[in-house]
């Protein structure tokens, strides 16, 4: 019995020690920023926030990867300092927020088509072909329509196994959004959404689940987030972009998708981009903040810390981190526009000077 008491005492002591150290830590920081939202950029934010905190010991940044929808809700409730989302808010959503919101793009990504097919090292696909595969209209690899865009490739007489996400996902949203743009048939039958009612194929949970099945199944094809597929170095298909070029998904071609005329608020869809070198299923991921930072009981210090954090993310150093873990960097034009946009962030009547 005594031993148990001793053990409990030990546990209690340990816990209280932990608490103490945590208090000391937060006591020394001048500002704590919290954000919530998209899971897609989470690995990037994880590293870039950590780097920022190392550079700037007075600021603590917390991020909860609860999904884009949750991030937007949290920002609306003003329970976080910034929200993160893979899709920009439409005008209706903007109107529903509790103040004017601006969108800061932080990095870029893409949806790639990974496949496993023995003897086929290079595969070309077009949007309508992908749509037909997932609609169950192209069922065999040696289909004449696949042969037509892949001259010189000898396809086996093998069933195509399309693989999709069984869980709701922003990747599914971006994938289906692209197909809705390029294929009217897809638009009427499937539409776009984070989860769909599928016509053909099998499903798995998360990027790892889809990648696992694709890698292990001869004749499988699946859509996967580029950051995941590029890290695993999966074989992926070249896609035909709007101009008509077949483009491999690389960090350069993904970034190139943003080489279009961007609006001043940067709320632009870069899916099916006009740029000749662009990968067609590319996307921005965003951090959303209120333009007027004076709300609730926020201090000016916190507002300054937030702007300096955003500044760090789009800086060369921040973008370098993105590249290291296979997120595509923002194009120069996007960074310039974002800088201009960030000047509009203010604290009540006061201008925010970035302390960095």
């Amino acid at each position: 019995m005594q031993r148990i008491y001793l053990f409990i005492l030990l546990v209690v002591l340990l816990i209280s020690c932990n608490n103490n150290s945590a208090h000391v830590h937060s006591g020394s920081s001048e500002a704590t920023l919290s954000g919530a939202g998209a899971t897609f950029p989470y690995p990037f934010y994880n590293i870039v926030f950590r780097d920022y905190m190392r550079l700037n010991g007075k600021v603590t940044v917390n991020y909860g990867a609860i999904g884009s929808g949750g991030g937007i809700r949290s920002l609306r409730d003003r329970s976080v300092d910034f929200g993160a989302s893979d899709a920009f808010l439409n005008n209706k959503e903007i109107a529903s927020m509790s103040g004017e919101v601006i969108h800061i793009p932080t990095c870029m990504g893409a949806v790639v088509m990974a496949y496993t097919l023995e003897g086929v090292d290079s595969l070309r696909l077009t949007g309508p072909l992908i749509a037909d595969i997932y609609l169950g209209k192209i069922r065999k690899w040696n289909d004449s329509r696949l042969k037509a865009v892949n001259p010189g490739v000898s396809f086996p007489d093998l069933d195509i196994t399309p693989v999709y996400r069984s869980d709701g996902s922003g990747t599914t949203y971006n994938f289906s959004e692209y197909l809705s743009i390029v294929s009217p048939e897809w638009n009427t039958i499937m539409g776009k959404g984070k989860a769909l009612k599928w016509e053909a194929g099998i499903a798995a949970k998360g990027n790892p689940g889809v990648a696992g099945i694709v890698q292990q199944t001869e004749g499988a094809i699946g859509y996967i987030g580029s950051e995941y597929a590029l890290t695993l170095k999966l074989p992926v298909a070249k896609l035909k972009n709007r101009v008509g070029n077949y483009v491999d998904a690389t960090l350069e071609t993904i970034s190139a998708a943003a080489n279009v005329e961007l609006p001043d608020d940067i709320r632009a869809t870069i899916t099916d981009s006009d740029d000749p070198g662009a990968y067609p299923i590319s996307l921005f991921t965003w951090i959303l903040v209120y333009k007027d930072q004076q709300y609730g009981n926020r201090t000016k210090k916190e507002a300054e810390a937030l702007v300096s954090l955003l500044d760090y993310i789009i800086s060369d150093e921040g973008q370098k981190v993105a590249v290291q873990i296979n997120y595509a960097p923002l194009s120069i034009q996007a960074v310039e526009k974002t800088r201009k946009l960030m000047e509009e962030i203010h604290y009540g009547e006061e201008v925010i000077n970035v302390p960095m």
């Binding site: 069984s166 996902s169 539409g191 984070k194 009612k197 199944t217 004749g219």
Partner: protein, 285 residues
Amino acid sequence: MKDKIFRILLFAAALAILFLSAGIIYALVNRSLEVFGEYGIWGFVANAEWDPRPVTEEYGAFSFIMGTFYTAFFSLLLCIPFALSVALLNGEYFRGSKLSSFVRSIVDLLAGIPSIVYGLWGFYTVRPIIIEMGINAQGFGIFLSSVVLAIMIIPYASSLSTEFLSMVPNKLKEGAYSLGATRLEVVRHINLPTAASGILASFILALGRALGETMAVTMLIGNTNKIPQGLRDTGNTMASVIANQFGEADGLKLSALIAIGLLLFIITALINLVAKMVMKKLARV
């Protein structure tokens, strides 16, 4: 004094369990009310449509109920010959021998392997065999998950059956032998009929286990939201659809998933009840 404290502690623990189960049921019912209110209980249970798109949103549990029954019953069918032979080996032919205790510990080991390990084994080892057999092109589906499930439930079916087989009175068997019956005849006409309801009960319990298995099935069944067209097809079970879609779900979809959880709870409870009743009947005999 100590005795009293002990009794109070026991009573409190039992009561806590009771409250917990009541709480689980309450939470499940409460959260499923939204979807039952939308479609009606029968409209939800009998509808095979599962469409999560916001514009055409519609949820029904029928395809998952069918997927669950397909996998559970097919795996039960597959496990019967193995579980029964293991039970006969341990409970009759080699009762008490070294071989029996060895087989017993191996079978018990099967019960202790985590579900995800079975899933991985099914994914990397059994699936290529299924593809080789030409069941379907990618291997996933009802067939693959049932094969793996069958192995998972063998220990549940066999250990209880063993107990019942070894409980068959020696008097009966000796009587049969003295009339000139062979060993096979004794097993067929004495052991099996006498232990029949116990064996039945153990298989029903194994079925209950197969109904609720989640992780391995999720990895192997293909996760397609439609009624499986036969054993070669892919599908989704009630447990696997919850595991797959719970994370991002909210609103009506979340309520639909919780309602599926409630249905699974009820089905499993009924199965266990039936098994208990069969065993009780046996005890009376």
